[in-house]
Symmetry: C3
Subunit: 368 residues, 3 copies
């Protein structure tokens, strides 16, 4: 049996602080552009089925009990106690937490305490830039503050993360934009901007990526199917090949998050470029009963030392649980099959399991 005692969740968010009813819980399960179609429910998805499988037992219920019964039990225990039981039942021993969402979610320290685990911060570049813009009076001060903020964040965070790919995809130029171009773009953006506006200017997004690359901290890039509101065809990680090639040899690692349904492409980049790593977790929460197959597809081209686990969870501790349990079960099944079929020795399979579950993340993010 493949065993993975430690699990580093290399990309997740905190959890909501409010009690949830059936409808508000359902809305957090899967990210969509609108309410469920009439006559359908988002519980009838891979994520819904996985939550119903893995979470009720952690709160003392039968697997696959009706959602309403689960939600009633959750409210009975209270958000805090339910969250503690769920997070501590996930098997995750370290959380790397993207703190850059506007939602009121628990931060790394609070998530770590609830889950009795280590926790570290991931800084989201676009949100950092938006905060800097909110407090900078001129283009010159904006650009100076931006560089300083990224530099300052690098001192306490374990990684940067960016959604530039899903916001601009192929428009992302491989080269760092020149200073004049950046000043021009910053001027236009700041002039037209109201507080709270999202950063979507491609020149500034690119500039931000290159500042982050210069910091030396690992840079996580969202690719593949992520948030609604994007066009999936613009998030294929192979479209990043030129940027990836331009950043090779600079000493900064790139981590391709999500990937699915282009996870084979992300794995290819992780195989070809020494500084590229592939995430293999967030897609499992979306694909549920199919997790072992999706994981196996990542393991086709990505070297085993270049694959990292994450839950990608956001809002619900149930998603951290499901991410971790699906991953562990899938990893055990995939590697167990290799051993059974003679494709790997038992010792190698166990070693690879440790790399993907925590060893690679420990090395890349300098944990411990």
């Amino acid at each position: 049996m493949i065993d993975t005692p430690a699990l580093v969740d290399q990309y997740c968010h905190g959890v909501l602080r409010t009690e949830l009813g059936l409808g508000t819980f359902e809305a957090q399960l899967v990210r969509t552009e609108g309410p469920p179609a009439p006559g359908t429910t988002l519980f009838d998805t891979q994520t819904g089925f996985a939550v119903r499988r893995w979470c009720p037992p952690l709160l003392g219920l039968e697997p696959h009990c009706p959602p309403a019964r689960y939600l009633a039990r959750r409210r009975e225990l209270g958000m805090t106690e339910a969250g503690r039981r769920l997070l501590r039942g996930s098997g995750i021993t370290a959380y790397l937490v993207d703190t850059g969402l506007p939602d009121d979610l628990t931060g790394p320290a609070e998530l770590g305490r609830a889950g009795d685990a280590e926790a570290h911060e991931i800084v989201r570049l676009e949100q950092l830039a938006e905060q800097v813009a909110d407090t900078s009076g001129t283009v010159a001060s904006f650009l100076a503050n931006l560089a300083e903020s990224v530099h300052g964040a690098a001192a306490h965070a374990v990684a940067f993360t960016s959604v530039a790919v899903s916001r601009h995809g192929p428009a992302l130029t491989p080269e760092p934009p020149g200073p004049g171009q950046v000043r021009g773009a910053a001027g236009r953006w700041l002039a037209g901007r109201r507080a709270g506006d999202e950063l979507s200017d491609p020149v500034l997004l690119c500039h931000l990526l290159w500042i982050a690359v210069a910091s030396g901290l690992p840079l996580q890039l969202h690719a593949g199917l992520g948030a609604p509101g994007t066009r999936a065809d613009r998030t294929d990680p192979v479209l990043l090949t030129d940027f990836v090639r331009a950043t090779a040899g600079l000493g900064t690692d790139l981590v391709l998050l999500h990937g699915y349904p282009y996870h084979r492409h992300a794995a290819h980049l992780a195989g070809v470029f020494p500084h590229v790593y592939a995430d293999c977790g967030a897609a499992l929460v979306r694909t549920g009963a199919r997790a072992a197959t999706v994981l196996a597809e990542v393991l086709e081209l990505a070297p085993f030392g270049k694959i990292l686990f994450s839950s990608g969870a956001r809002g619900l501790p149930e998603l951290h649980v499901v991410g971790a349990r699906l991953f562990r079960e899938a990893l055990g099944r995939v590697l167990g099959t290799w051993v059974a079929e003679g494709a790997s020795s038992p010792a190698d399979a166990q070693r690879v399991a440790g790399l993907i579950a925590s060893g690679n993340a420990g090395r890349v993010y300098g944990l411990h």
Copy 2:
């Protein structure tokens, strides 16, 4: 055991009225751009193997008997009797029939009688427009007749279908074209047109889609690998994202047909947009022994309430049989595995089977 007593084939065509020899039968098995390569036969395909597996027993022969023997038995029974036995052996209880092909195929009523099943008409928008063009004298009358024809068809058909994506793919604009643009395009098309010419003007194709959207009837869009003569890369359904987003909230459902090899992308759209549904059947006829895997891939991201079965069959009743049998076996295998592995309760699996086999189609198309 997962049971699916009722099966709604949400997209198919009628069958040929002529007796077929080995060569003419082979030519109907798979759609290609030319005859089989020297030394090869189209019976050596997934579709060929699936026909040889499922159909001979319905005509009193052994599975996998030689094609020539099967064809001899088929002629012995006669086209009509063989067709009855095949269709009645398929397990399909309702056919939704695209009547917009030029071939001489049986219509919905005749197909329903032969198969002892319900039958409904799907109207193909491009063919409707071509018929209207054949009988309209001026641009103004063409456009007025077009609107009226679509409106009239909506009264008796259960859905519209369009091949605009495979004819134009990414060129499809997300916005309805303006009246002047439409008049200009209609004028140019009608001026250069001879009776029988295909509609391939992108403005008119788009105009037609938007008239159909306004009718409120479900709109089926061909995407993925469909007919030969198209470039597969232009049929990726994610290229439709802008059009899909533009039609959200208007009360009209979009059904993405075929999908394969982009079925995971179609499933993504069905997951993100409340008004989008994904077909999971036609690809199974093409992929045969791999049907369970292809179906499972659709079931990764598409909510279980958003998936519809079809055979996509055309010309040969054998293709209706193969579509239905492969689907049933694949669905039973996929959902049975979920139950065996604990990913679903038996009751949920049975409920999901019913949704995909007929429940979702009944709701979307308003059957009974």
Copy 3:
């Protein structure tokens, strides 16, 4: 049990003539853009695991023994003897060898002798053109010599191969460029060229393809993930659809090499166009324990008479072994499953195995 006594490797290279240490061997295992990331090794890849599984027993060691032990044994036997044992243990009975790499690799005759197998030459068009350029003084003589060289090569080679797709991808025009265009491009290229420079002008690449098409010899096109240095998104074989359609009916077969991760797309083209064939081997060496699944994906749309085996091996005889063993095991497993599940008769499965292992290649390349 499915049996494949003869195995035609329709695309490979020769092997290195030098003794290899752990690091130089590792560098040949997988083609990358740089050395392994710190803390990782390329032995921790599917290819590494597959080599450790299949090769040690051929040199008298246990499967999965440590790489250092394997390399020590390899040096102990000496490159020549180790190569003989490996190649003769592969089960390959005929090698088709691309001789167009600059590396010092064994040629077809030497590879054939070492492996006790038939061997034939595949001529790489780009290298042929570069050699002609090195020895031609004027544009006119270059173009005349080029046509003559291709014609001459066609007399002794069994196929041409081209990397035009990975060098230019979608820029490849479907039509043969006109004589003036070709002369202009040749003039510019020759003027700016130093001896040894690669051919990367799209007009000349295209011209070369069309000369090769005119020769009637099968033309192998590299598509999908091939060499590093390319952008994977530009190598999707469906981007070749217009070129494929333009070459239909001319009597020249096109063979799509590699394909992965677009192998389903390559299989589609092989299904739709009579003159297109799909490779199913090289991807297996890269995907190792997943070989049966990847092969099964090719077998979805490609007619069984249109699929060819290759190892794609280069430099290491271990890669010929791994290609052949993975293929045989995968083919046996895929077809064995079909028989077990009733999707094929045993006789048909055995016949299909023979076609893919050697029959199709024998027919396409006119072997024997």
